[in-house]
Amino acid sequence: MDGATPQADDIVIRVRDLRFRYPGAARDALAGINLDVRRGEFVGVTGPSGAGKSTLCLCLKGLIPAGTFGGTISVAGQPVAPGTAYIESSALVFQNPETQIIGLTVAEDLAFGPENLRRDPAGIRAAIPRYLEQVRLSGYEEADTYRLSGGQKQRLAIADALILEPQILILDEPTSELDPIGKDEVFEVIERLRRERSITVVIVEHAAEQLADMADRIIVLDDGALVDEGPPDELYRNPRLFHRPDAERAPQISEVLFQLIQAGLMSEEQFTAREETGIERLRSLLMASSGQVVQHA
């Protein structure tokens, strides 16, 4: 559709020199962030506690907290600043689902967002079971939200965002309380939405292994600054940021490969942070070393 000017229209989130400081704080929560996100891109955000990840999410959604704001943000062509009206093109899944869940029952909670946007009530009712199924909550329509477990609340909060059918989905550690398969399921839902509707995803996530398998690009925040970014296979080889005892966790596959490369047992260009690719490379290495012929499945 916009093939004529792909460069200009392709950027759905543009952030320039974003600065933010909470009232009374001694330092900037965000200290000059520059970021462009392309339409349909999957961007992972990682970094230690207090790096500014949640503040960035709030700013991208236009929910700029009270404080000192500087720089510019544009989301789907709309300028975002303190006091900006609701941005319908994007949805945010909050870090703490209890901040987000307001309905007494699961169905009421899911309907709240789209009803506020004056979407068709019959359409909303029809959509509810579909979104509950996507987050493994089928049959929970009439369940009281306060009785849900931590993980169930987190999945409901994700469904709350998905049912808005946003172009841009921003998620702040959406899987922190989910079991491992639950994490996979959330990532599968996001992947499907990307395929079917080309949505753009910005996700704060500590689950490095899933991030490495799915993200086009990962950015690392520390102390309010963007300290590194790149595709997973490049980013996770940065020894200043990963592979040290106190560093953020890197995918285990990348840690094994990193150590083998350090020991001279593998060549540097064989590095990857992706599970399947990594297993293939380890397999080839073992077979070559034992003199067997490498077979490709």
């Binding site: 989910l178 079991d179 398969i181 953020e248 083998l260």
Partner: protein
């Protein structure tokens, strides 16, 4: 310790939140010895937290018995149980209520009737253990999520309970924070305290916790050495769990000599370098 007296002994525990409601725990038998470090794993809604809340009498069995250091939780005074079993909640905001960090950490020991000097000693020690010593006079709710999590742990540590139950202690923490909490738990365990940790973090379980119990659908699905439980991929799958990535990689390479019960990156790397060294 008296021979035969477990830290926690659970027999045929059945639990319903309402008398006519569904059984959330459906016949649980577990014995935890004094000084053990145990991980409770299972999918969301499996009953982990419900089970753990029986350890300190927050919940009482609908039928069956729960004994803590030999005492039945149905008859033991709550104050006694609170002294014996410390419980750190999943969400620190469900626990923290005081304005200042120091006041929050002092609440538990003060409630135990300790004198001011002993309360101060314990609070200082607990805050130092979790690395919050410089935040003692800050507002509790001005702390970040990770720091609030540490405060919740410190508040319970300050009571110095012989049994500690922590519900998802590393949720929302970065790697340094998670390791910090696990180091802390390991040190406490080394001092002879019993620790039960509910967690979804298979990597930390694999690296740190000797025994793992899988809760599934209100029952104990598996209970044994972590190496055995976490390398049983089929069993974990039925509980919506899966082994750590290092184990998954090892199992895909087991036909080439990598042990299928590999648990950690270090173990995987050691085997790879040995196999490559020998072949090359």
């Amino acid at each position: 310790m008296l021979d035969g007296q477990a830290a926690i002994e659970i027999s045929d525990l059945v639990f319903r939140y309402v008398p006519s409601g569904p059984e959330v725990l459906r016949g649980v038998n577990v014995r935890v010895e004094t000084g053990e470090f145990i991980a409770l794993i299972g999918q969301n809604g499996a009953g982990k937290t419900t089970l753990a809340k029986h350890f300190n009498g927050l919940l009482k069995p609908s039928s069956g018995t729960v004994r803590v250091l030999g005492r039945d939780t149905r008859s033991a005074p709550v104050a006694d149980l609170a002294r014996t079993v410390g419980y750190v909640y999943q969400n620190p905001d469900h626990q923290i209520f005081a304005q200042r960090v120091r006041t929050e950490a002092a609440f538990g020991p003060r409630n135990l009737g300790l004198g001011q000097a002993e309360v101060d000693r314990r609070v200082d020690a607990a805050l130092a253990l979790v690395g919050l010593q410089d935040f003692a006079d800050e507002f509790a709710f001005s702390l970040g999520r990770g720091q609030r999590q540490k405060l919740a742990v410190a508040s319970v540590l300050a009571m110095e309970p012989p049994i500690l139950v922590v519900d998802e202690p590393t949720t929302g923490l970065d790697q340094a924070g998670s390791r910090g909490i696990l180091d802390l738990l390991s040190r406490w365990n080394a001092d002879g305290r019993t620790i039960v940790a509910i967690t979804h973090d298979m990597t930390l379980v694999a690296e740190r916790v000797p025994r793992t119990i899988v809760v599934n659908d209100g029952r104990i699905l598996a209970d044994g050495p972590t190496r055995q439980v976490l390398s049983d991929t089929a069993l974990l799958r039925t509980a919506y769990l899966r082994p750590p990535q290092a184990t998954r990689i090892a199992q895909r390479l087991s036909d080439l000599g990598v042990a299928a019960d590999t648990l950690t990156v270090t173990e995987l790397y050691t085997q790879m370098s040995r196999l490559l060294g020998r072949g090359g």
